[in-house]
Each structure stands twice: as structure tokens, then as C-alpha cells.
């Protein structure tokens, strides 16, 4: 067992972890934060995306043992006091969520994108979420939500509908 001190969504935890436990399983099983999902478990799908020290990572490919002194943010930290964040509210308005399995990771990747690029073009949005697979809503509504939350609803013309 390895002892780690880690901050998750602003709250400090001290926990013993097995070396083989991933950050994903640590969040879900040890802390009960089940908003973060496992899809592929191998870096492909992005369902497990969380922030670690200010940047997004695939939590299925991080060991919990690496967490000493680190700070993690998950989807549970996104809404504040029961009020959806701006990104979540835009997803809601645009029906950018169907089953919701990809949404936790998708919302956090969008947060990372908007931090570095507050007004991304459609191409830049596609690139920002390329590591996040959505297998049911499709991407149009998600891109519309990102255009909306970045104040660019008028740029929808760049989207090609099929």
C-alpha cells in the first residue's frame, strides 16, 4: 500500500492505495465519485477524463500512487451548490446529452479547450474533443453547445449537417 495526500474538487484526502489502482478506480471505488466513467480503459474514448494539476488526463492511464500532492477535479466539481456550470447548462439547452456516458469527460475537455481558447472555431472544437467519443448524441449538438457557451451561436454556419 502507498499513502497519498490528494486534493479532489477542493477537498483534501489521505488514503492508502494499491500500486495497481488507477486514478479512475480510486475516484469511483475509494471516493465514491462515480460521475467519472470507464469506457475503454485504454486511453481511446475519453469517458474517464478528469483534470490533474490543471490539465485534462485520461484517468484510466494514471496510477493512484502518482497522486501525492496533486490536485484533481472531476465532473462532481463542475456544478456549484446545485447550479449547473455554464458548460453544463449549454449542453442541457442544446440536447448535447443523450445517455450521458460521455458527458462527464466531454464537459471537462470543453472546459480545458475554453481555458486556452475562449472562442474556438468549429474545427478547433472538433480537435479539442477528438479524444472524447460520443456514441449516441452525435457531435453536432455538442459543438452547438460549445459555440453557444463561447458566445458564437452565429458561427453555426461552419457546421455541415448531413
Amino acid at each position: 500500500m502507498i499513502t497519498v495526500n490528494v486534493t479532489v474538487n477542493g477537498k483534501k484526502y489521505k488514503r492508502d492505495v494499491e500500486p495497481s489502482k488507477t486514478l479512475l478506480r480510486f475516484l469511483r471505488e475509494d471516493l465514491g465519485l462515480t460521475g467519472t466513467k470507464e469506457g475503454c480503459g485504454a486511453g481511446e474514448c475519453g469517458a474517464c477524463t478528469v483534470f490533474m494539476d490543471g490539465h485534462t488526463v485520461n484517468s484510466c492511464m494514471v496510477l493512484a500512487a502518482e497522486l501525492e500532492g496533486r490536485s484533481v477535479e472531476t465532473i462532481e466539481g463542475e456544478a456549484k451548490e446545485g447550479v449547473l456550470s455554464d458548460i453544463q447548462a449549454a449542453f442541457d439547452r442544446h440536447h448535447a446529452i443523450q445517455c450521458g456516458y460521455c458527458s462527464a469527460g466531454m464537459v471537462l475537455s470543453v472546459r480545458e479547450l475554453l481555458k486556452r481558447n475562449p472562442k474556438p472555431s468549429v474545427e478547433q472544437i472538433k480537435e479539442g474533443i477528438e479524444g472524447n467519443f460520443c456514441r449516441c448524441t452525435g457531435y453536432q449538438q455538442i459543438i452547438e453547445a460549445v459555440l453557444d457557451v463561447s458566445g458564437q451561436e452565429g458561427s453555426k454556419g461552419e457546421l455541415h449537417y448531413v
Binding site: P19, S20, T56, V62, E66, E112
Partner: protein, 271 residues
């Protein structure tokens, strides 16, 4: 599921090299884990000890100086490269290859060092490092050596590294700064995907170098061309250097064809 290994996070280079020397074959270094943890999960790799390089003092960041060139460390991630102004301005080919590697969140963790040690034929960083004449500084408890990348890869997922050796630095010579360059990567989709073939081209002071990924057991460098080489000469030299196979993703003939198409397009782009 992962199971059955110990984890160590040494703070100094000396501690890390001691651990590597003591554990030998049973140890695996952990950088971003985007290859290692996937391979451990599938059972392809079963280390007794995982040694994290990221806590070692002095192992992160990127340094540029006109004397030593561009120096990448063991923990330097692909996105560290892309966020670095010197890299974007002086080494456009490095940035182009980095930008084509995996997805944004994978690039936040994946390191340049991990990418070349993994030594996949489809490595996206290898073509840039080959074209730019980069060197690997390799250290163990008993000493340090430098190997140019054109001698670094020895086969599919094989390199010159021994079990007790650390790839400590990747050095791009200062004189390659300012070289023009670009990368073309064929994928099944527009989003993130491993390459079906990749072609990098660099031009500097009359010289032209081309490197190709996914078209031989290792990434390949084609040297000895110059800026005035005809497209036919460039294509012929590249064809001679590669030995693609047919696999799940496409046929040998398609790979050969697309390498040629990319060489011609890059020649146009970098005219």
C-alpha cells in the same frame, strides 16, 4: 485489470539509476504511462517494479540555448513541446509531428522520451527527431553515452537501450533551428488515430531530409537528398528505404502509394 507490482517514485537521478541497476529486467520506467499502462493492462508487460520518472528533480521542462540546442527531459510531455514558443518558432517539424500524436488529453501525459522508447514503427515523434539529427543521451549507473536517433531503433518495439539504462535527454542540435519542415499522416479518421503511414520532410541550407513512419520495422530516415532533388529522385530514394507490410489497416501497395503521394505533396508545400 492491473495487478501485482510495486511502485517507486525516486527524487534524485542517483536513486533512480540505483533502482534500475538493482531491478534490471524486472523494472519498468513510468513516464506518461500511455503505452506502459496499456501494455500492463493487457498483460503484454509484467514488471515487478514500476519506477516513476516524474518526481526526479531536473527531469522536466524544455531548454533551448544557441550552444546546446533544444533539450527535452524524461518527463517532457508532447503538450509541453507544443506550448513552448522556441519549439513552435524554431522547430516547426517537431511541433507538426507532436500535434498529430494522439488526442489532447493523451498529449498532456505522453512524453517524447516514452514515444521513442516504445519504438513503435508508427511513432509520430521519431520522424521529426530523425530529420532533425537529434541524439539520445542514455545513462546508467556505470556511465553515459550518446546515440543519434538514426542508430537508436533496432526493430519493431526495440531500441539500443539496455534494461538498466535510462533515456535521460533528447537533444536537437542548435544548427537545425529554423529548418523548414512539415508532416503528413494518413489515418482512418480525422480525429486521433495511429498512423497508417507518416512522412516528415525537412529543408535547411540546401539539404533535404525525409523520414517515414509505419512503412518498415522501424521509422526510417532518407538522407543524402538536397533541395534541388527532383520529385522522382526523392520518391525513388524513399521507396528504396521503406519495406512496408500488409496488415489489418491496409495493404503494402496502398502504403507505398500513399508515401509517394505525401512526398510529392510535401515537396509542393515546402517549395
Amino acid at each position: 485489470m492491473l495487478s501485482g507490482f510495486n511502485y517507486a517514485a525516486p527524487r534524485t537521478r542517483g536513486e533512480l539509476l540505483d533502482l534500475l541497476a538493482a531491478e534490471g529486467q524486472g523494472a519498468k520506467l513510468l513516464a506518461g504511462g500511455t503505452d506502459l499502462l496499456v501494455n500492463m493492462r493487457s498483460g503484454a508487460v509484467k514488471p515487478r517494479l514500476v519506477i516513476d520518472v516524474k518526481r526526479v528533480e531536473g527531469f522536466s521542462g524544455i531548454e533551448w540555448s544557441a550552444k546546446d540546442g533544444l533539450v527535452m527531459k524524461a518527463s517532457t510531455t508532447i503538450n509541453d513541446l507544443l506550448r513552448d514558443r522556441e519549439v513552435r518558432e524554431r522547430f516547426p517539424l517537431l511541433a507538426a509531428c507532436a500535434h498529430d500524436l494522439a488526442s489532447y488529453q493523451v498529449r498532456n501525459r505522453a512524453t517524447v522520451v516514452g514515444n521513442v522508447v516504445n519504438a513503435s514503427p508508427c511513432s509520430d515523434m521519431a520522424p521529426a527527431l530523425l530529420c532533425l539529427g537529434a541524439r539520445a543521451r542514455i545513462s546508467s549507473k556505470t556511465g553515459t553515452r550518446e546515440v543519434p536517433f538514426k542508430e537508436f531503433f533496432t526493430g519493431v518495439k526495440r531500441t539500443v537501450l539496455k534494461a538498466d539504462e535510462l533515456l535521460e535527454l533528447i537533444i536537437v542540435p542548435a544548427e537545425e533551428g529554423g529548418a523548414r519542415g512539415s508532416y503528413r499522416k494518413l489515418k482512418r479518421i480525422n480525429g486521433h488515430d495511429l498512423g497508417i503511414v507518416g512522412v516528415a520532410m525537412m529543408k535547411k541550407g540546401g539539404l533535404m531530409r525525409i523520414a517515414v513512419s509505419s512503412a518498415a520495422p522501424t521509422p526510417v530516415l532518407v538522407d543524402g537528398l538536397n533541395e534541388t532533388s527532383t520529385p522522382e529522385a526523392a520518391v525513388a530514394a524513399v521507396r528504396k528505404a521503406i519495406s512496408p507490410i500488409s496488415d489489418l489497416r491496409c495493404s503494402k501497395e496502398y502504403r507505398e502509394h500513399m508515401v509517394e503521394v505525401f512526398v510529392r505533396r510535401l515537396l509542393e508545400e515546402l517549395k
